[in-house]
Symmetry: C2
Subunit: 195 residues, 2 copies
DNA sequence: CGAATGACAGATTTCAATATCTGTCATTCC
DNA sequence: GGAATGACAGATATTGAAATCTGTCATTCG
């Protein structure tokens, strides 16, 4: 049974996710996590120096799931840059919207965590912008796009579409205009990128 | 002296702004406003049916100041659409950034009010989008821009530049990259609009 | 000996009593 | 008579004492 297994960082992270899901970000305590694992809270502190470190690790895990899913689209050299850019942005929007819609409380929980872990979020955004940069650079290389600096253009595209992926705008994702707005934004940006 | 003047909605709004500036949005009460005016709070309720109505009136006033300042740029037919669009967006960003930087507490206060008065904010955004639509439509008429629907394009431009005018992003307005990011965003959007 | 425990101090949160506020309205004032 | 008042009921906010939590560490356990 669980109590006899070795206490690993991984098991603690799983328990923490569960406690966060149950109690929400404000009420989830280290004592709760220890209780869920059937150990003393001192044992948890052996693996994570502080509560903040534990929360950061959980947040990174969550962010990494999004990055990995999109990496496949960014790296798919078999399709042209415009299609990939459209798909990548659509996949990001769809994934975020689905998460926010399916389990609003868990999404709100992770939004709070993201607000605390500014550093981890910045890294995550850098990763995503990297992926976008690859797409734009490929587009420039193939003559489809024109850009003085693919990194700068990618950053501009990411920021300009913030309304469709930044959690602070989650409330506007299920309005009737959301899809039309997304389409208009992507089309305008693509026109700006085309050679 | 003030106590002998007639109690008007206008005087109440002025006093409310002052109370909000002093106490912040959470602690500003109708009783405070009445005290500042030297009247009973019952008298304030003669002019505003509820505390929410009073706050809404103050918020509208504040939002209208921004709209008016930008209307001049949008309507200046003596300059080409591209210049006007650049200037309009830059003026909006500059005005917001200045307000947020000069008096962060007052800006935060009004941000909270805006969060409460969703309807008033929606109207304000409609006004601004109207102004943008006029610029885009002029650009299309003069052959400088291309757009199937200036209203849709204007909406896309406004949303894409949200990071530079939406108060939820105020924290990013004084980073070293802000100006470069703004420049990149506007350039990309203008390339997308040009015929 | 390394992993786990639980008692502890100081920080933070909870909760219930207390105070203040919102909105109404019968009465007063000019 | 129309504008202003202030007492009032119910809703909301404040406060401070009690409970819980975070992070440490001397001690126990296997």
């Amino acid at each position: 049974m669980a109590a006899t297994e070795t206490l690993t960082a991984e098991r603690i992270l799983e328990a923490t996710e569960e406690v966060l899901r149950r109690h929400g970000p404000a009420k989830a305590t280290v004592v709760d996590v220890a209780r869920a694992l059937g150990v003393s809270h001192g044992s948890v502190y052996r693996h994570f120096r502080t509560k903040a470190a534990l929360r950061e690790a959980v947040t990174k895990r969550w962010l990494d799931r999004t990055s990995e899913a999109l990496d496949g689209i960014a790296g798919d050299a078999s399709r042209d840059a415009e299609t990939r850019l459209r798909d990548w942005l659509a996949a990001l929007f769809t994934a975020k919207r689905r998460k926010a819609g399916d389990d609003p409380e868990l999404f709100a929980t992770y939004s709070v965590l993201a607000g605390e872990q500014v550093g981890a979020v910045a890294e995550h955004i850098d990763e995503l912008t990297e992926q976008l940069t690859r797409i734009v650079a490929d587009g420039v290389a193939s003559g489809l796009f024109r850009s003085d600096d693919p990194g700068v253009s990618a950053r501009a595209v990411f920021q300009a579409t913030g309304r469709f992926h930044d959690p602070v705008h989650a409330g506007e994702w299920d309005t009737p205009e959301a899809d039309a707005d997304f389409e208009a934004a992507v089309s305008l940006l693509l026109r700006g990128l085309r050679a």
